[in-house]
């Protein structure tokens, strides 16, 4: 009689998530993370040291930007596959402008390119109403191609570190012995958290991910929301791309391919956010990303080859997915 109404099992689910269940649901991921840290400290030589931790966190920070963007998209019930190439394209755009002698304009260029591609994604998804996976898959190809096209696949080099010291500091500098980029990542983590938890926009992100039709009936503007969400997602790639240029002082046309896309989705999933949207937070994403990075680091220190590492990481992602699903069933 009421197909869109209440799924039958929800009646029986009453009170199921009480006590230990609820607590494990909330904090289990933290427990897993700390168990991983303890095991790695015992098993991997030189793992437990301040400088190693800072190294891992610094490398991770670049990915955290895109993972935050991806969290927004996934919470709203979509997925952004264009991340890998958008990072590369932004990196190239930044490098081209910085090499011409304008470091801060270069940062702006990277951000603009990311935001612009995100805008196109947002229009395709929010107004044309293409499926998010399809639209962003197209963008993955287009921006990936563009990143290679302008330099014929070559890197952009020749940036003089002495002329762009302030810019370089963003990614490589240290403040109180801690890499500056970690502060930046932390700042954006808190900012995104604020956006999601304390603004109407954020609440509507959850609503869209929870049930698109209901959100629209409540008067939430689907098109506007999707456009803003994807612009922010593109902006997060622009940020990561520009900062990568600041770190490497070169433009690498394939810097984002592979890791950035996989880890931006991987972090969201491993952190235990609902892959279908509506439930989750950026804290989970950050912990998910830390699990991926500290695990990789520990395996490295144990002398395990990068190829076998990937297999291990894959198994970890599947395990987390399985337990995440089991929890919600």
């Amino acid at each position: 009689m009421n197909p869109e109404g209440v799924p039958v099992h929800s009646i029986q689910a009453q009170g199921k998530f009480s006590g230990w269940h609820a607590r494990w649901d909330r904090y289990g991921i933290l427990v897993i993370f700390f168990v991983l840290l303890v095991l790695a400290s015992i098993g991997a030589p030189h793992f437990l040291s301040f400088s190693n931790f800072l190294n891992v966190l610094q490398t991770m920070s670049f990915v955290l930007f895109v993972a935050l963007g991806q969290t927004l998209v996934i919470l709203s019930g979509g997925m952004d596959l264009s991340h890998g190439s958008l990072v590369s394209l932004s990196c190239m755009a930044t490098a081209a402008v910085v090499a011409a002698g304008h470091p801060w304009l270069g940062l702006l260029a990277g951000l603009s390119v990311g935001a612009f591609c995100g805008l196109i994604n947002g229009i395709l998804i929010g107004i044309v109403r293409l499926n998010a996976i399809i639209a962003t898959l197209g963008m993955l190809y287009i921006s990936g191609g563009l990143a290679l096209y302008f330099t014929d696949g070559k890197s952009i080099s020749g940036i003089d570190v002495n002329k762009v010291q302030g810019f370089h500091f963003l990614a490589e500098g240290k403040l109180f012995h801690i890499p500056f980029v970690i502060y930046l990542a932390l700042f954006f983590l808190v900012l995104t958290h604020f956006l999601l938890r304390h603004t109407r926009f954020g609440n509507h992100v959850y609503a869209l991910g929870g049930n698109e039709a209901v959100a629209e009936i409540a008067g939430i503007n689907f098109s506007r929301m999707k456009i803003v969400i994807f612009v922010l997602s593109g902006l997060s790639c622009g940020m990561a791309g520009a900062l990568l240029t600041a770190r490497m002082l070169t433009g690498e046309p394939q810097v984002g391919a592979g890791t950035f896309l996989l880890e931006s989705i991987g972090a969201v999933v491993v952190g235990g956010n609902d892959i279908f949207g509506g439930v989750g937070n950026v804290g989970r994403t950050a912990i998910g990303l830390m699990i991926l990075h500290f695990l990789g680091n520990a395996l490295n220190l144990m002398g395990i080859s990068t190829f076998s590492q990937q297999v291990v990481v894959g198994v970890v992602v599947l395990l987390f997915c399985y337990f995440g699903l089991a929890r919600r069933r």
């Binding site: 109404g5 689910a13 603004t199 609503a207 991910g209 409540a218 503007n221």
Partner: protein, 478 residues
């Protein structure tokens, strides 16, 4: 076409009741008022000025708030978040942020005013159906609206909860809110309403003051006059018991269901929306779990844990929601017909005999008079009535002995309805057992050999064809 030239006026401080059979277009009308659907023609006047409800945002801004029949709540969010969705209270001068404390305390106040004991922070997905309905009502009442539309707001509520709701509606009425109240429950209409309108087949069949008519007159308007003679029913000899359901129960859905269907018999199941008739059908078909009771086919107990097993023992279901449960909209007529009986198309060497699939499909198209250019066109290009026939062909091809029709004529026109009725009679004459779930009382009366009435998950009456009439069915269903 769901609505044809409907006129309806609504005054401040009145409760206008809208009644009509299922499929009469009530919910469509609501969605047009709320900006969810757009009308092809006609206009909406507010205070005498034309307004265009371009989208829900505009309708809300114009002061229209709606309690929908299919609950519009987000299961993954909590009660407070749902009630204040898109109306979240804000605080802060520079950084405008959601004032969660106010949101939850306001939610608590709203719920208390309705005397509902629900935690404002409870996840919607953890609440019962009745609680969903209360939250939905609380949400609509908390919006400062000038026009309040309630579509079947009491289907899951207890008598006590209905009292509270009616109390609130009377208060709002005194405050000058115009209320459009849609319901099937005729006795509650009298209690709450000032005026009424009847929708029938998408048209306004009559408007008047409730004080000046009796329920009989309203039912007559709902049903229409010429309806009797479209049913091709005639007496038939009945065979032995084909399907027996003994004491079947499913937690939270239905309990103690006990009945039998004989060969060649058409058993009608009547009841209100929410009486759990569809759920019963799905349980017999193995699509919903049962926790006690048993099912027998020709005297042999069977276990159906999945639709596949049900099909194998000869049970066929024609679901109400064709797109969702009944058909593969993108696949061809032939593929749809064979979909439940692919085991019959298996070749010895492996693979499927697709030539035979098409031949059999052609036979069904002829024998059931399915209007389609060929058996290879996609099913979604067919009309509703013809889709219904394809579902029937599918059940017959899978060699069903018991065919369950769930709202077989919902949303199809009178001509197609008659076709479906004739096919049903032919099947019964051929010795098949038929269970017909319908919310249309004339259809139940016109087609059934025997009638069960369900009410909130239980069988509340069993009537023979001779003793059944509208009044008795409504009495048992309400």
């Amino acid at each position: 076409m769901a609505l044809k030239g409907v006129d309806l006026d609504l005054y401040p401080g009145e409760i206008h009741v809208l009644v009509g059979a299922n499929g009469a277009g009530k919910s469509t009308l609501v969605k047009i008022l709320a900006g969810v659907y757009q009308p092809d023609s006609g206009e909406i006047l507010l205070d005498g000025n034309p307004v265009v409800m371009r989208n829900p945002e505009v309708a809300l801004a114009s002061g229209v708030s709606v309690v929908y029949q299919n609950f519009n709540l987000i299961a993954k969010m909590d009660v407070g978040q749902n009630i204040f969705l898109n109306r979240e209270p804000l605080k802060g001068k520079i950084l405008r942020r959601i004032d969660w404390r106010t949101l939850y305390s306001e939610t608590e106040k709203i719920l208390r005013r309705l005397r509902v004991a629900i935690d404002p922070r409870a996840k919607i997905g953890d609440l019962s159906v009745a609680e969903h309905q209360m939250v939905e009502i609380a949400k609509a009442l908390s919006i400062q609206s000038r026009i309040l539309v309630l579509d079947e707001p009491t289907s899951a509520l207890s008598a006590q909860e209905i009292r509270e709701l009616f109390g609130r509606l009377q208060t709002l009425k005194k405050e000058g809110v115009a209320i459009l109240y849609i319901s099937h429950r005729l006795e509650e209409i009298r209690e709450i309403g000032d005026r009424f309108s009847v929708l029938r087949d998408g048209e306004n069949a009559g408007t008047g003051h409730l004080r000046e008519v009796d329920l009989r007159e309203i039912i007559r308007l709902m049903v229409g006059r010429e309806i009797e003679n479209i049913f091709p029913w005639e007496p038939r000899p009945l065979g032995e018991e084909m399907l027996v359901v003994e004491n079947l129960s499913s937690p939270g859905l239905f309990s103690g269901i006990h009945f039998a269907v004989r060969k060649g018999e058409i058993l009608g199941i009547a009841g209100l929306v929410g009486a759990k008739r569809t759920e019963l059908a799905h349980a017999i078909f193995g699509a919903l779990p049962v926790d006690s009771g048993r099912i027998l086919i020709q005297g042999n107990p069977i276990t159906v844990k999945s639709p596949k097993e049900a099909i194998n023992v000869g049970i066929g279901l024609l679901p109400e929601d064709k797109e969702q449960h009944g058909l593969f909209p993108m696949m061809s007529v032939a593929q749809n017909i064979s979909s439940a009986g692919l085991r019959l198309l298996k070749r010895k060497m492996g693979g499927l005999d697709l030539k035979r699939e098409r031949e059999i499909a052609r036979q069904f198209v002829d024998s059931l008079h399915i209007r389609t250019p060929s058996v290879e066109v996609a099913i979604r290009s067919l009309s509703g009535g013809n889709q219904q026939k394809v579902m029937l062909a599918k059940a017959l091809f899978a060699r069903s002995q018991v065919v369950i029709f769930d709202e077989p004529t919902k949303g199809i026109d009178v001509g197609a309805k008659q076709d479906v009725y004739r096919l049903m009679i032919d099947l019964a004459r051929g010795g098949k057992s038929i269970i017909m779930i319908s919310s249309e009382i004339p259809e139940i009366l016109g087609m059934s050999d025997r009638i069960l009435v369900m009410k909130r998950g239980r069988i509340s009456a069993e009537l023979s064809r001779e003793e059944a009439n509208e009044k008795r069915i409504l009495e048992a269903a309400l």
